[in-house]
Amino acid sequence: MTKLHSAAELENLRAGILSSRDPAQPCIAVCAGAGCRGADAGRVVGAIEEEIGKPGLADKVNVRATGCHGFCEKGPNVVISPGDICYFEVKPEDVPEILARTIKGEVIERLVYAHPDTGQKAVHLGEVPFYKHQTRLLIGDNPKIDPMRIEDYLALGGYAALSKVLFEMSPGQVLDEVKKANLRGRGGGGFPAGLKWETAKNAPGDDKYVIVNAHEGEPGAFMDRALFTGNPHKVLEGLIIGAYAIGSHRGFIYTRHDSPQLIKHVRNALAQAEEVGLLGENILGTGFDFRVELHFDVGIFVSGESSALMRSIEGNPPEPRPKYIRTSVAGIWDKPSNLNNVETWANVPQIISRGADWYTSIGTERSKGTKLISLSGNVVNSGVVEVPMGTPLRTIVYDIGGGAPGGKAPKAVHFGGPMGGSIPERFIDTPLDFDELAALGAPIGAGGLLVMDEETDMVDVARYFLEFLTNESCGKCVPCREGMRQMLKILTNITIGKGKSGDIGRLEDLSDVTGLACLCALGKTAADPLRSMLRYFRDEYETQIARGSEAGRSETR
């Protein structure tokens, strides 16, 4: 592809891509996201490609290996356009029939969704219960995009927001639009992105950096990987727009070293964007320069903490910095550095294209837009979900998730993984809202939602999360390293029937001090799951400790 030098050239390229495509010709999109690949989607794609190679088929149907569609539980997923016909749990053996009937415009009954209780069928994506209650502004493009082809993103209007920003808006206007949209950070804290951008923009110095935090590492969180692997250009476009607003010419993408598919797609996206002149020197002929580097972690969860992440990019060990100065003022190499999470950046292009007024019409008073949720645990339909802020948890757990399997009753929902919290089922009508859930002790965090059924042992859940974080802490500050070590020992003892009286007091003191005294967010929130459980499920702890004390007494008798 040749380098683009103007907005008109970008639109010409887009028109050319669209005119070369026949929207009436069937296209079979096979999900090749992490979950579906695990369920053999690679062989399904191979089988389709082989079949299409046979005479007479190549010009009648297209195939596309895409990123995550969302419904991981039923993978491998296939969506056929036009019409968005959904097939689930597709096997390589199904492929010849799919092709033969697709070109005839027929639907294969046995592969469509059937409700597990009623048996009611749903053919089209919009009718499948898992998808029906969602608003898929970010993840919805995934089935339409081959993540390795920038053309697919351009065909859906990609980089139009960047073009608008560069040719029609000043950096200040971009910042104002993002502030007006009240886009809050999706990585955990919910801090307004616009205010963060403004701090970096106004901080003294010519060298400023923008960073994508793609270090998704906690158990039960897989939405950022699904979005970034499936649609890398959307995140990249958001990043370039942010760089323009802030006045940055150098960006970093920081991700895990152990997500090969993500790395491949992001590397390819960076190269393609540079090739067509959407990245690098003189973007779209405007004189705006912006380069992006890809960096990897060293395999420890604390790398995702903002100051540790920046130390890691510098080439230092990923240990959080105890200084009382914001990274947006002094981050990488002590230069102003603006870090946002994958999903936050992905929201930026649509805020620019459709406007802050449109964006703020979605959601609650203080939480705007949609939110990606990784839905897993004791739930019938696990997968990546996207719903408007304000959606009641009931809709997510029951209407989308189908409730707990085996006719069991959900006991609790847990948000935010090892740094989040559990709330009992009686709060199921709480809306998805940063502040309301934080007040209950289950902050949304990055968006991992675990459903736990009546058989879940709440002491063991807290123990599990603490075990994870204990191994993923850097070990630098005392209340994190020693506090977690002691909490984990006490919880382990309780779960093996060696609880002692005084354990709850010890756990409360340790968790209070960990929450107040640690030097970074990992430590400060490490005890949050335990605190939420001592708040709502204290009786389970007391019962198990009493059982242990009882056993201890009889042993000594």
């Binding site: 009382y324 850097c474 005392v478 506090g483 002691q486």
Partner: protein, 204 residues
């Protein structure tokens, strides 16, 4: 440098901008306990024992005084129920490692910390990092460093450097609040370069 007037424990304290709360307090004769702090070294901020309560525009917060910068009209409380609880629990966590460390025992008395509150740990290092940072920042030898992460973090002498540099230094021994630095050094010596001490000191 402009001056900043702040309040520490109800007392008006004059400080220079750029100073930390700990420095301002020490200058005013107000004592704040420290474990990982050393005047010759960069503030490290990890033992968290020097935490104090600050109030900025009516918002209360706990910060480490060895790093928190002074500011005009800052209100600092070096003792409060919250501060004392943080220090007590941190001491109890550290006493699980080094129950007989004189520095810890003295502080434990002051803050009512129970040395047997938590199950004992086998290593008596409290990872204050004084030895590591002194060797790096003052001696610029890096003969001792941190290895591993989380609860497995420990200090370790690097035999190749230690065998050359440590025999006539050992200044870190006196800094160590638990005598673990000595133990770690002599263990390294015994395993990696036995006898080198005598050869190096030319006393053989």
């Amino acid at each position: 440098m402009s001056e900043a007037l702040l309040q520490i424990d109800g007392k008006a304290v004059k400080a220079t901008e750029g100073m930390t709360v700990l420095q301002a307090a020490q200058q005013a004769g107000i004592s704040i306990p420290t474990l990982c702090h050393h005047e010759q070294l960069e503030p490290y901020g990890v033992c968290r024992i020097c935490m104090v309560e600050v109030e900025v525009r009516g918002r209360k917060n706990y910060v480490v005084s060895c790093l928190y910068p002074v500011a005009r009209d800052l209100v600092v409380r070096t003792r409060s129920e919250g501060v004392d609880k943080i220090r007590r629990v941190i001491l109890e966590e550290l006493l699980a490692h080094a129950p007989d460390s004189p520095a810890l025992v003295a502080l434990a008395q002051e803050y009512g910390a129970d040395r047997d509150r938590f199950e004992k740990e086998s290593s008596f290092c409290i990872l204050c990092g004084l030895c590591v940072r002194y060797c790096a920042e003052v001696k610029q030898k890096n003969a001792v460093g941190f290895i591993e992460q989380g609860p497995r973090r420990e200090i370790s002498f690097i035999p190749e450097i230690a065998s050359k540099e440590c025999w006539d230094c050992q200044e870190c021994f006196a800094l160590c609040p638990t005598s673990y630095a000595q133990a770690a050094y002599f263990l390294t010596e015994a395993l990696a370069f036995p006898g080198k001490r005598r050869a190096g000191s030319h006393s053989a």
